[in-house]
Every structure is written in structure tokens, then in C-alpha cells.
Symmetry: C2
Subunit: 163 residues, 2 copies
């Protein structure tokens, strides 16, 4: 699933409840599938397929990368999982939150943040008014420079200030 998602989010609060949702959809609960869910529930940040396959540095048994991708794919299809892209580099996967999330990332330091879509509604309105496009930053984030890097940049500018 290199593409976007359109399925409504399905929130689960534990591996077991996620498993129940799988069963309800007649999807089988295999060891590999369960492992992907366990990794996502254990993580406190969006993970790459690679990280999941590696078992979160030994906290979980490692599994086959291709299967991880396939499982992330089907989990995303039913709405349990979402993924987004941080500039270059691998996609990041996380459990779908009750409310969709959007992202901003800093192209200098690589930091990123999840933000509540409501906080971007005025931005969205302005973009639509100006360009006619309805922006969505949940799959591809807003890319820019974070406050810290912005500050560092002006620091630097005044440090050797001899243009």
C-alpha cells in the first residue's frame, strides 16, 4: 500500500480488540499478523515496516519483511492502520487514531509531529480559497522548517554576520 487510504478509521484499544475486529471481518489471525499488531500497540511512534519486521530491536520475535508489508496493507484496508511518508525514506505506519491525524515535518532535522486536523482547518480553507484544492496532510505532510531549526538559522546568521 504505497497509495493513500480512504477507509474510515477503526480504533482499537488493545491487540485483543483489534484481533476481534479482524475476526469480525473473516480475516485470519496468524502469528505474523498478530505480531504486526503487537508492534504497533507497543510503539509510541509511527514505525517503519523494517522496524516491525525486526521485532522492535528484540522486544518481539522478528518476522518476514514481505509479510509485514502485506499485513500492514490489509490492516490499513480495514482502517486499523494508517501510514504516511516523511520526505524521502521509508513509510511510517501507526494504529489509526479515533480521529484522523495530519503531519508536519522539518526538512532540516527530520522531526515530525502529528496534529489534529481541526488545527489545520483554517489553513485548509485558505488553500482551497486560493488554489481550489482541498488539502489533506495525512498521507503527505506539510514540509518545512521547525521552530528550533528556524531559531538556529537566525543564530547562525547573526554569529558570523558579515554578508
Amino acid at each position: 500500500m504505497t497509495v493513500s487510504h480512504r477507509t474510515p478509521p477503526l480504533a482499537a484499544d488493545s491487540v485483543d480488540s483489534a484481533v476481534a475486529l479482524l475476526r469480525a471481518r473473516h480475516l485470519r489471525v496468524s502469528a505474523a499478523r498478530r505480531l504486526v499488531l503487537e508492534a504497533l500497540f507497543a510503539a509510541d511512534k509511527p514505525l517503519t515496516a523494517e522496524e516491525i519486521a525486526a521485532g522492535l530491536e528484540g522486544w518481539l520475535p522478528s518476522s518476514d519483511l514481505a509479510s509485514v508489508y502485506r499485513n500492514l496493507d490489509t490492516l490499513e484496508e480495514i482502517g486499523l492502520v494508517r501510514h504516511f511518508h516523511l520526505g524521502h525514506g521509508p513509510g511510517r505506519y501507526s494504529l489509526a487514531a479515533a480521529s484522523e491525524r495530519e503531519f508536519v515535518t522539518c526538512e532540516e532535522c527530520g522531526a515530525f509531529e502529528a496534529v489534529d486536523p481541526a488545527r489545520l482547518d483554517r489553513v485548509r480553507a485558505l488553500v482551497e480559497q486560493e488554489l481550489g484544492y482541498r488539502a489533506r496532510f495525512s498521507h503527505f505532510p506539510i514540509v518545512g522548517t521547525c521552530a528550533a531549526c528556524l531559531a538556529a538559522r537566525t543564530q547562525e546568521g547573526s554569529a558570523h554576520a558579515h554578508p
Copy 2:
């Protein structure tokens, strides 16, 4: 050059003037290099390295893909060329305009538009106020749904309107 750019744009209005700029920087003007410039000047839209290497479907001699990448890279380094990314898929390269350009793209139909950064200044200000990030849409565009697809979507909604 999978990364961004920071060099000030260098505008040229013809292959010859671009070549002059190369010479001024002690860069050699090889056939392959010139071909990349010719492709970019001939094209009316941002090109992929692949398209340039293929000689724009026969309009120009085809050349080596690795060299095309290298040349785009050096041309971008001196500011003659810029590239951006349209969601998934290969990067797109074009001649640098006198003023930087930013992009919006539709994730449904793949359409994209170059816009004058000034038109996004209010958006940028709002994003910075809300998130603290200074957005830049010249390397990674704003992704959303274009007016046409938006219209098609509501059409569709009212067509079989039985929720």
C-alpha cells in the same frame, strides 16, 4: 540529488545562455550536459530523468540515465534546475524560474500546478502561527484534491444518494 536545494535560482532564457552560465562556472559543456538542457528548454512541463534520457520520445538523441541524473544534479547545484516530488513516482525536474515556485497536486487524478510562492504567503503565515513550522512547498507539494475531482466526488455522491 534526492535532497532539497538551497542555491539561489539562476534563470536562463535559452540553451545558449545556460551554456554561458556553465562556462562562467568552469563547468564543461559536454554533449550529454547540453542534451539535458535542451530537453528542459524544449519541455513545457517538469520532466523525469527517464523522459530526458529517452530524448523526449525521439525528439532528441537518447542518453545515459545515470549521466542524466548526474547532470541534473550539477545543474541543480548551480541553481539552473529545480526538482520536486509528486507523491510517489519519480522526481520531476525543470528549469529554475526567476522566482522560486511551489506546487500543489491532486492525489486523485495526479494533476499538479506550479504556483507563485506569494500566493501561499498567507497559508505559510497561518501554518507558522498554528504549528511553529515555516512551510515550503517547492520540494514537496501540497497534496489534496483538485476542484474537478472535488466536483466529481459530490456529483457521484448525489447520483446514488442513499446513505
